[in-house]
Amino acid sequence: MAKPKPRVRLPKSISAGVPFTVKTRITHPMHTGLRHGSDGALVPRRIVNRFTVQFNSEVVMSAELEPAVSADPYIEFEMAVPESGELVFEWVDDDGSVYSLRKSIDVA
């Protein structure tokens, strides 16, 4: 499998205290463990089971994901920041891998 590629989209300009939308996506097959491959064998479960977002080390939101989440998990939420800082996004794979992405925010 190709290495999962995380992507995050933020508005071009962000003001302190004003809510904005964060769109996140990671390429990942999210194998449910219930489906059979072309050889007839069960494809073992492998999903992104946890997603967390932190701003300056404070948890903004986290999500526990189950196999019912679509392939290439897409998650969108709204947040506001009081000051400039760094957003850290982390996706945790069933195999223990952690895929992360950092985005710095300069409030206007």
Partner: protein
């Protein structure tokens, strides 16, 4: 997503036996909700669950859930092999809403349960028709 013919046939057969209307409990969704709420029964209202009425592709159904003053929001389904979909924990900086794309194995009911800041639980229930199941 790659889908085998066997999977599509199985899902279609499963969908044919689903009851309409109220949420069923074939996959243990009631127990899963009770586990999330610690046994409390969620009240209706206070949660806005936005899903399409009909989804052509059960492999990626957009779902948005909003609940004022929610600390945690969980999504459940009554017709997938497993009842749980996702649990969002929302911190101080996040607003009380989230959107995600989910798999639905066939026409069924989606349930959103929110834990509010005062410790109470609220829920919203929406049924959805799925044309092609998503192999969940």
């Amino acid at each position: 997503m790659a889908m085998t013919r066997r999977c599509v046939l199985l899902m279609a057969a499963a969908a044919a036996f689903l009851p309409g209307g109220a949420a069923g409990n074939e996959n243990g969704v009631m127990q899963a909700i009770a586990e999330f709420t610690g046994g409390a029964t969620p009240l209706d209202g206070g949660v806005n669950l936005l899903i399409p009425e009909i989804a052509d592709n059960g492999g990626a159904v957009p779902v948005r859930v909003e609940a004022a003053a929610a600390r945690r929001i969980a999504l459940f389904t009554d017709g997938n092999p497993y009842p749980g979909v996702a649990v969002f924990s929302l911190g101080r900086l996040a607003s009380s809403a989230a959107a995600i794309r989910i798999r639905l194995a066939g026409s069924q009911t989606v349930i959103a349960v929110a834990e509010l800041a005062d410790g109470s639980y609220r829920q919203a229930t929406r049924s959805i028709a799925v044309t092609v199941g998503g192999c969940a």
